[in-house]
């Protein structure tokens, strides 16, 4: 009978150890994290932001890009066993998410950059934070309009009959048309006008003759403006229009003299999120100057971290109005209903 030599025992032992160790090596593969967020951001997130994030945190990002309300619906359906760890939604949708217990409070102890944001960026004691501030104004076709629209009232000008598109109130940016209408009808500053909804509806009805369409699908609206079919889109924002402009489309974004608006892009940790520690790290990254410099450069959004320089050409953040989103969130469904009845 053949007696095993010392060498063959060692070789076999090493092979066995390698086999046993293999699963450990597989376990060391990057961890996965699901981030839910806007479909419109998917392109620049995937191209410019996630590669840096994945390298830095040694993880793999699975991005679910859809609109905020759909993500909210998904989170409600998956409340018992959440799949999304980090959610990126606008403030008016964060409000119901917070009150339904779908997102959880964050703290500066686990997310250091939370304490380094400009005033007004952290909401409900850390329930969510703004990682960027796109600005909204009037997007216009440079092919059709030689001079940029200067005032919100330009949207109502009779010479633009059937040339104007506005966002649906179902979209966050849909509120800007209503707010501008309230301001024009009452003559009051935005801060007071935002609560004058009857006046807003009175004025917005006068916009009917100029409306080509009311969009829920932003890419289609932008597309029509790029083709020159629509001349202006009221309430469009930088992270959409200026990206298209940078890609060579004949469009631009004007901030009217009576003032532009600040879009509320928030990020939050999902309650009971899988990979909780990784979720903290991802949120910290979004709030860091490293990520915000990329976003400002690629998506034309104002940074919220005090340590991030605001690029030249961006409007003064102090000049941008941020409304009472709690008031908007509370009333939006009834406004949508009213809009449908009065505008169709």
């Amino acid at each position: 009978m053949h007696t095993p030599s010392r060498r063959s025992v060692l070789t076999s032992g090493a092979a066995l150890a390698a086999i046993i160790a293999a699963p450990a090596r597989l376990r060391a593969a990057p961890r996965e994290i699901v981030i839910g967020g806007p479909a419109g951001a998917a392109k620049y997130f995937n191209a410019d932001l996630f590669p840096v994030l994945e390298k830095k945190l040694d993880c793999k990002v699975l991005y679910e890009g859809t609109n905020s309300l759909t993500n909210l619906q998904k989170m409600q359906a998956d409340k018992a066993a959440p799949k999304i760890s980090v959610v990126i939604m606008d403030d008016p949708v964060m409000l119901p998410a917070a009150s339904d217990g779908l997102i959880t409070k964050m703290s500066a102890s686990s997310i250091a950059n939370l304490g380094k944001l400009v005033d007004g960026s952290v909401h409900q004691d850390g329930m969510w934070a703004n990682y960027q501030r796109p600005w909204a104004g009037i997007a216009y076709s440079t092919k059709r309009m030689k001079t940029a629209p200067g005032k919100w009232s330009d949207l109502w000008d009779a010479k633009y009959a059937s040339r104007v598109i506005v966002p649906s109130l179902s979209n966050t940016e849909g509120f800007w048309t209503l707010l501008a209408a309230a301001h024009l009808e009452t003559g009051k500053p935005y801060k007071e006008a935002q609560y004058e909804i009857d006046a807003a509806f009175k004025k917005v009805k006068e916009l009917k003759a100029n409306l080509l369409n009311v969009y829920t699908n932003a890419p289609q609206a932008i597309n029509l403006m790029e083709q020159g079919e629509a001349w202006m889109i009221g309430g469009q924002f930088s992270a959409y229009t200026l990206i298209r402009k940078a890609e060579g489309s004949p469009v631009d974004l004007a901030v009217p003299q009576d003032g532009g608006f600040a879009m509320p892009s928030g990020i939050a940790k999902v309650n009971g999120a899988p990979a909780g520690d990784l979720a903290d790290a991802v949120i910290d990254f979004f709030l860091s100057p490293e990520a915000q410099i990329i976003l400002a450069d690629k998506a034309f959004v104002a940074p919220t971290n005090k340590g991030t320089p605001t690029p030249a050409g961006f409007p003064d953040p102090a000049s941008l109005f941020a409304p009472d989103w709690a008031f908007v969130a509370k009333n939006r469904a009834s406004w949508v209903d009213r809009w449908s009845k009065e505008m169709t």
Binding site: N213, Q220, L224, E229, A333, M343
Partner: protein, 287 residues
Amino acid sequence: MTEAALPAPLAAPSVDRERLAAIGFVLPSFVIIAGVFALPLVLLLGVSIVDANGLTLANYKRLLGTPYYLGVVWNSLRLGLLTTLIAFLISYPAAFALARARGPLRSVLLATLFLPLAASVIVKAFAWTILLRSDGIVNETLMALGIIEDPIRMIFTETALIVGAVNIFLPFMILPIYAIVAQLDSRYAEAAATLGASPLVTFVRVILPLTLPGIVAGVALVFSLSVSAYVVPTLLIGEKYPTLATAIAKAYLLAREPGFGAAAGVVLLAIAIAVVTLSARLSREPK
């Protein structure tokens, strides 16, 4: 041992065994249909008639008792009816042309019918907005032909919606009619002619009744698809033409009123079932 265990080779299977086999074949599809389709529909109905205080018909009262929502129901019906009618008028002769075509021509015609099915409905709806815009091919052609002087607005109008919907759902009307027409025995028409029937009488009394099953199937398909379409009205006309499908999306996603959304879903389903049932009955009518 083996011989004893074998069944009598020539004995016919008993009725019970036949029935058991039939049940065995039906069971998987029954389980899928019951679990995946019927159960959610029962749940949908439940959500529409139950609120925090118990049973209620409030959602149905709101939907069928307010002029605005009656308008929404009418918009859906109008979209379904106009799309189905126009699709039928185009499809019927097209199905005959397809059935009579031979060789490569038939392959080309079938390919033109099937290939668009591979493209997403979103792509097709987007394409229509390009074709119908003021400097799009439709306006340019009409101007070149001298039919219009200036471009007319076509996008985001009901005309655009119906044109787009007909184009998108057309194959679902042509194919069932074609399937019947292809099997039509030409000797029936010849026999009618021999007996002195004019072409019109032959068509009305012979051809049309024989192709009725195909028409009924096409109508049921196109109507169900167009009455419940969401993407097509959203992209081709937008908010100015609210339909039951867009009302359902708003109720669930925005207003967070699942009860009302479910009621709208039940009404939409009832409309579709009514049309399909009616169609099925029509096709069984004695000739």
